[in-house]
């Protein structure tokens, strides 16, 4: 039972891998290949590339990543609770309300601290 379901998933994964391999391999047979120095330069609005390509990017991306990690992981607790919601009764409801209020406070915190504001940093 289990195995069969995941067999389908496995087949899909295999197909997903195969398609790019096949397509790119076919492409290699078909497409021309005449590399020149200029073709291999990095594109930069038609100018000579300045400096390194892997520049330092803004710190705010990390902050969003942190926010994502926290909220996404909290949903790990929300999902099982939601599935079993009908069987759990009042206790679970109250408990999850507290949980969500805490999440909300966290969001409020981030909001007030201007973490959510793109231009703030």
């Amino acid at each position: 039972m289990y195995t069969v379901k995941y067999l389908i998933v496995a087949i899909f994964v295999a197909l997903g891998v195969l398609l790019p391999i096949a397509a790119l391999t076919i492409g290699r047979w078909l497409r021309p290949n005449k590399p020149t120095e200029d073709k291999a330069t990095t594109y930069e609005s038609g100018n000579e590339p300045i400096g390194e390509g892997q520049i330092r990017f803004n710190i705010r991306y990390y902050l969003y990543a942190l926010m994502f990690v926290i909220f996404d992981v909290e949903t790990v607790f929300l999902y099982p609770w939601a599935v079993a919601y009908n069987q759990l009764g009042l206790f679970a409801l109250v408990e999850m309300c507290i949980f969500i209020v805490l999440l909300g406070v966290g969001l409020l915190y981030a909001w007030k601290k201007k973490v959510l504001q793109w231009t703030s940093i």
């Binding site: 994964v13 021309p32 390509g53 969003y64 926010m67 999902y79 599935v83 919601y85 231009t119």
Partner: protein, 335 residues
Amino acid sequence: MLDLVGQPLTWTHTLIFAAYGVLLLLIILGFVTYAIYFERKVIGWMQGRYGPNRTGPFGLLQTVADVFKLLIKEDTIPRKADRPLFILAPVITFIPSFVVVATIPFTANLIHADLNVGLLYYVALSGISTIGMILGGWASNNKYALLGGMRSAAQMISYEVPLVISVIGVIMMTGTLNLHKIVEAQGDNFWNWNFLPQIVGFIVFMIAGVSELNRTPFDLPEAESELVAGYHVEYSGFRFAFFMLAEYVYVFAIASLTTVLFLGGWHAPFALLAFIPGIVWFLLKFSIIVFFFFWIRATMPRIRIDQLMGLGWKVLLPLALLNIFITAIYMGITA
């Protein structure tokens, strides 16, 4: 056909499944090809233009020609790029987009991986694509690509949170993560579908879904006018095609998922119409959603990135959290 899944594993079954997979893959490829055509036509129509009309009748072969053009185009990899990652990135983006489709129930008994954690499976796998985009941006060793990659990652993870939380209401109502059962729990009349009691969740889900697809008005990662083309600026040929492919496969997937979660899947809108096969209803709803995607692309302007982030965190997430409360209360009243 779904009965096969319940039976012990044999080589025959495996072959059937494989055939089904290949078939679905082909369907999806076809869908993508004509979705692009359709999109261009729709937008053209809405904007008073013609859209593609040269290649083939009504321009029907335009996208096919585009695909062939990409296939035979020379593939250049920048000298400074991180080669293995550069090659790997589009593949990583594409694979999950296809694999998530495995769990979507198109009709009551059309074959699919009937996972108990189907929804979780979808959410978990779709997150992997983000990694591909960041990798692509980073491996290109190009400033625009990197910024585009970071932006797309920031956007996708920001909208992933409300997306994931907005479906909790549905889970609460149906008590399962199994997509098949979620559809079954919705009845044969449209007022039994989830989108009505879950209207807040539905709206949040739709908006977040559009954003997840990086489509206008949320297409900042590939904003041609600002970032040249975003994370795939250095890609050409079929590697580029795979980024595009992934994007449109996600359109397929999200549209299917919306249908399944909120619009009753294969159910008919009225019980008396139930004699029409489920697949028809499914396709109908599915098409409406796809059309909706194209429609807003034609009408809405692109928003600024700070507005984009603000919308996600300050509007959608609180709404999604609120939705959980609303659902809990709603269920308390109806129960």
